[in-house]
Symmetry: C2
Subunit: 220 residues, 2 copies
């Protein structure tokens, strides 16, 4: 079985991505502790891996620069607005996926894994530019030109299996694969229970409703 | 004066890049402690900043994956061969510049700096793919598509002022700008004195010879 590195945040999208990847690859998960307020998502990510018997590594990154509401205690996580605006919200972290992908592709190349899987999707999402197809295409080209495997004609593949799925479809796919959604975490805030108000909580609630499934996290 | 983030390794190329950048920008240096054997280069990088009164941040990154001779104690730093081979040497660290650029561009965006300066050059170098113009062009496109400043039409600029200079020209430029070369470090090995045998030592020695200047580090 070929190896892959899976970027795992502990959220629903990356959990479903992990379960999809497990069917094709021998997976190693990479989890980032980058100072996010949502420390609970880290716990969930580790639990998901132990549950699925997936090897994982938690990478601690000290990002001293602030500004994002996800990181900065001085900036409050805002109440969500999922009415399809075009603005990039204050929860945006500059270059976050670029940083995560860079480590993951470095890790992949060093362990001889041919792929990095990431659970980004560009339909009902927070409008982050580093979740869109055109960004991933450009990043693939960057790896093709900037890495040994790339110049040898065999760059690490960036696999985005849920990129064009709606959150509803992601949930249905996860349900089919047996993803334990009660062990996933979406809320942006620091807390032991989802705040129910941030954008990520609202997107999750709407998606479970659309999927006709009760969110098991809420009864946990 | 506009702000820029300068990637500083402590080597000659990044030191000259810093001095070039200081003429155009208010600089913040970013230094990476990523487990390199050449701990002396970190000392040099900090000394260069203090000397030039440049603000700096040392970012510690725990790269648990091994394989590169620059990081891995199990892999010896090889004797250098600067006879223009096409192979990528064992000192290659997968995605290193992608990782460094990702942090630097994130940092830049968070402090409102419009540029990241990096001292890569593609003439007499170690043949690393992430030092070449085509890689940087692709990375620029990745930032244009994957960041807030990018989609707003104003991506962080990746400035590579020495990319097409020979090492000899870099030294002459540095001499003109008053770069204290005795406080720079090129050797790949762990040690308080340059080994004189690795590729980086050989490239440095040849360049000083070609420039007709004595390397002040060797009499330090």
């Amino acid at each position: 079985m070929k190896k892959a590195v899976v970027l795992l945040s502990g959220g629903m999208d990356s959990a479903v991505t992990l379960y999809m990847a497990m069917r094709r690859y021998e997976c190693s998960a990479l989890i980032f502790d980058y100072g996010q307020k949502a420390v609970k998502e880290l716990e969930c990510a580790e639990t998901l891996c132990r549950d699925a018997s997936v090897r994982y590594h938690v990478m601690k990154i000290d990002m001293p620069w602030k500004g994002s509401a996800l990181l900065d205690e001085a900036t409050e996580i805002p109440g969500g607005d999922i009415s399809a605006g075009a603005d990039i919200p204050v929860t945006y972290v500059p270059s976050r996926n670029i940083i995560f992908l860079s480590f993951a592709s470095s890790f992949a190349e060093s362990i001889g894994a041919g792929a990095v899987c990431i659970g980004a999707h560009q339909l009902d999402y927070s409008n982050y530019p580093d979740c869109r197809s055109d960004f991933f295409d450009s990043y693939r080209e960057t790896l093709r030109l900037g890495t040994r495997q790339g110049v040898q004609g065999n760059p690490v593949k960036i696999v985005t299996p849920v990129i064009d799925m709606s959150k509803r479809e992601i949930i249905l796919k996860g349900a089919e694969l047996g993803v334990p959604f009660e062990k996933t975490w979406s809320c942006y805030a620091r807390g032991q229970h989802p705040c129910g108000k941030c954008e990520s909580c609202l997107l999750r609630a709407r998606a479970f409703e659309q999927a006709g499934i009760e969110d098991p996290l809420l009864n946990n």
